[in-house]
Symmetry: D2
Subunit: 365 residues, 4 copies
């Protein structure tokens, strides 16, 4: 079959002919991929930021597909079932999984797809621990309505909104209006905060944030973001700040936005240490949380989509046939120019594509 | 001044000339009433169901007004401030108040207005413990936008929605679509449940519930309500049932609607014991809560009203000049005929009214 | 092999020769039983109170043993491992299990051993869903130190102490000082309550409660138990009442002991409805919880036993060779006379026993 | 009267004759001090680390005394009552106080005694907001049993144990075994953790920690403390780390001790920023909390002392007559040599003392 793979010598993904995956363990499923998308972390991999990704690794960890083959120990699904593939694979048996912390599964799961094992930007993908890592898609929903429940919606909800304990009436700041920041903005509204302030340097993202329900959108290049937020909150700060960028400057600014007694929930993927001003924070009753998504919220988010109370399709600004995934990477990697939020890659299966991407990853965050 | 008072020999409220209240304790305020409303419990009092209410007691515990006079120990307000009078008076010092349980204040507060001391359906009212029992009304909001934050909105939110731990995606049943049931319906939506089922025997109330955001409205006279709810939920039951009536039959039905692992939050005012089927419940992981409102949520609800995210005015179906409060009682007391949800009683002050109400309280729940 | 089985025509258990269990599903284990015990619910079964138990059913749901055979899908254990058999079997895959509610597993688990499938008072037992229903026993611990973690310790802790939210400094009432009541007394102390009041009509149980750490033990036949508790708490009532009997009278008394703002956690196995005085409770901020144990706390309790901070052996007042299990049932069934709390049944395996028990079950609670 | 005051030009406290405090606001009390103690922050003040402390400020924020005079608005106490003076003064009216966050009171309270207003190391002290800042001492308890409930016990409990969510069975690391670290060790045991590891460079403190209930005491100068903790926990780390020192090195080490999914609760008083390794932490589900004590737990801790379940006297290693407070500062300031944990300063009132302390503050942490 064909798959999009990582080459250490290039920041372009390339189509490769690789062996079609088969059942290796009794808990595996093999899924034929029908719809997939690209994540910011795929761009990080292409840039060489994720050293554990090895040469030739199939990329991708968000997809919808149809079960083609099942290991003998899988009991929750049947061949032919249409399923959402969670970005998190979980063994379901380890102490972490038994307490709902699937993201830090110590039994061989966690974020492994397109990372330490082959991923889903391919004709077929092998999904370990299928009982715990796949979710049945209701017939009434199409792929695109459900696709973003594989990663960004549960990530933003669990790691941003739930860890940050957003409550009705709260004032919330969201630092960064990329796909995950916007997903935080969308899912924060499930709790009806009083006011949401979004900060992003790109005008197009600020506009999108206002469309998605932000009450105010500020430009951090237009003076210190924390100072702007304090000015908007009578000098008090916000109840909850959600960091959705992953840089020292944005993290430190997010901490400075939080009121005494407030919470900072980090979603950003960080590559460097940050400075924490404990000489100011030690008296301020601040709670800081970090974490990978556990995806416990996928069934609940599915119900909200079914009920028409959450619209995952809004994230999809650009659509590509899978033949043009290379173009999709290019547009997604240069969001400042292209205005892409998330792409949707459609196709019955990934056949008859060739060539190496000539995309240059312009900016990753 | 004039005030609406309780007469043991009549189920009609009557206008009486009573002494204008004055400061008795250093923590008191005297408030000139500008807007008030009628509560179901006022009707219970008129029917004689609340024996601790004595002859001549001034009725009413929900109002907005202007501070006329202040005790020397009150520090949070000034004469002339426009304030919301909470239905709960709280001393702020006792162990219950120190842990936020103002509704069961053991220092002389709790529900006392129009109950054990004179209430607010009058030209003026004395409010004990003013620092803890009044809330400043923002200039931008008119009386009617704020009036229902005195009682039914925080009651429904705290005792129904918060005690019931409504979460995004939950299926919620609300038993009873009177004013408090509708307030539960409105405030449950702050947490974006997946589906809300409302049960009420009155068609007009079921229609109103659908307008206010219920997904389904069932008629309990049309077959067992719990059986209808189970049929709507694949036999599983709801995550949260909120009882907003106060009768044994509705309580017992509400318990039967709850799924294994679910919650029952009681708001209803009960006059009789109920039967609890512990022989079925002991294995079902069900949590049952009771309680008076503490009104801790008033400042938060005020913020949501200010931000335009909660509209208290929707409750006000009928408006009366205070001269016609007797008519208002009549309409409110016969909601099945009148279609009243809540009334708003306007007036600069309650002057020049006369006569005794000839209203008959038709139905109280 | 031999097993202790239920005969509908008798309130005595009897030894029967039955087929040795084998692996039926890939997730099964067969365990050779080395130590077991008797539960109050075994007595209920013998009395005919549990109609779903069929003729010839092997009794028992608490045991320790050694894995003899494993299904192909079991990955957490190996043949020869010494394991604790949880009273709750859980599939680990259903929505209830995924949220930690193993006790109400909807995937074929729950309380099934010695109930709807054959149990553990036998030479061998088949345990479905072995990965989720067995726990490795550390080498340093002997069977008796761990045996009561199969049921009464996690039941008392989760359903009584955790559901009741016992906190440091709380005043706690425990109604009933049988095995589960004493387990609640022992595990409540993990949270250092300020005062624990135990109520039981048997003098020997009250004495044992005082030895186990109760601060006061009252006799409910010596005047109303709730009135005694109120007298001991300045008329306020307790923060948490734990019902560990299962009768209407004890439940209703336990509710009356709870302070405004307090919690009632039911552990008792109920056979009849109770009366709930909602006409008093609706204003009192009381939370009532029910539920079966989920056994999530078994790994934690195992750690405390390993650290010497919890001593499960204290429950074992009487020891029997498995040849004398019939005598053990007799003594356990007549605790008022025998003074038994829990029995331990030792044996390499259950061989060479014969006859039918001539024990009469005197009292079950 | 006489009082111990701060002189900017000296790191010694000195006795000064100052005006006896009087009632300034209706909510004030004047308390005659009978027993007091010295806190690490008093030493920080003497070293000049707390610039907001002005010349001549009376030191001290922990004491017991007798009410001498009361403002007209104080209703909870009478002249002659023996009271504990909380280190936190709280207005009881602001939004922070209304939600139990007394430590960050925005109405004029917080840590003000011996800091921004005159403190309690004096014959008499004025206590603002007396209703909220004093606690009645039960007759059966002597001063020394209650003294440490003014600050270190609630601080360690609320900011360390409660913020860190210590649960039964947890593995807990406490970094620093000074007075606050030992108070965290003592109050963590209210929740029966499975294992407590204490780290301190002083052998005498490690010995004391073992006496107070630590399971292991490690020496951080004997190899990296975090590495030692990981070695003791099979490489997993602890459920909760409590930082009780306040230096970048100890904070960063404490973070490194925490398991994926664990909590870090900071109690230490920090003077410098720390480095937070977000490049490692972002995936690890770690929660970090900071904060001043709110003292909500004082009534609960008083109950535990009354019940004999908490022994505050254990902290008091050295006793001084108030005439010798200067010596007390010397011993407390040089704990490495003196072995002092906390001192108790007794006296009917602070009379007839003279001179300037010749103590050199050797080490402050």
């Amino acid at each position: 079959m064909q798959a999009l793979t990582y080459t250490r010598s290039s920041d372009h993904p390339s189509w490769s002919e690789v062996a079609r995956p088969t059942i290796q363990d009794a808990t595996d499923a093999v899924v034929r991929i029908t719809t997939t998308t690209i994540c910011g972390s795929d761009l990080h991999i292409l840039k060489g930021d994720v050293p554990e990704v090895t040469e030739g690794r199939v990329l991708g960890h968000e997809a919808i597909g149809v079960i083609e083959e099942l290991g003998s120990a899988v009991t929750s699904f049947a061949v032919g079932d249409r399923v959402l593939i969670s970005c998190i694979t979980s063994c379901g048996r380890c102490e972490q999984c038994r307490t709902g912390r699937y993201g830090i599964c110590s039994g061989g799961g966690g974020w492994i797809l397109g990372h330490t094992i082959d991923g889903v930007q391919a004709d077929f993908a092998r999904i370990p621990f299928a009982d715990y890592s796949l979710y049945a898609v209701p017939d009434a929903l199409d792929d695109e309505q459900v696709l973003f429940l594989a990663d960004i919606l549960p990530t933003a909800f669990e790691v941003g909104v739930i860890n940050g304990k957003v409550q009705p009436g709260d004032t919330v700041a969201i630092v960064g209006a990329g796909p995950v920041g916007l997903a935080a903005l969308m899912t924060a509204q499930l709790f009806t905060p009083g006011r949401i302030i979004v900060s992003d340097p790109l005008a197009s993202r600020r506009e999108r944030a206002l469309e998605y329900g932000a009450d105010v959108a500020i430009d951090p290049t237009n003076g210190d973001a924390a100072a702007q937020v304090l000015a908007l909150t009578d000098g008090v700060g916000v109840d909850v700040a959600i960091e959705a960028v992953g840089l020292p400057a944005t993290f430190e600014s997010a901490v400075d936005m939080v009121r005494a007694g407030g919470r900072l929930a980090n979603i950003g993927v960080h590559g460097k240490p940050v400075t924490l001003h404990m000489e100011r924070l030690w008296t301020r009753d601040v709670t800081i949380t970090t974490g990978l998504v556990d995806t416990w919220s996928i069934p609940m988010l599915l119900r909200l989509v079914e009920q028409g109370k959450l619209d995952g399709r809004r994230f999809a600004t650009h659509h590509f046939d899978l033949d043009h995934v290379v173009d999709a990477y290019g547009e997604f990697g240069d969001a400042a120019t292209s205005g892409v939020n998330k792409v949707v890659l459609h196709g019955d299966a990934l056949v008859n594509r060739a060539g190496t991407a000539d995309v240059l990853v312009a900016a990753v965050d």
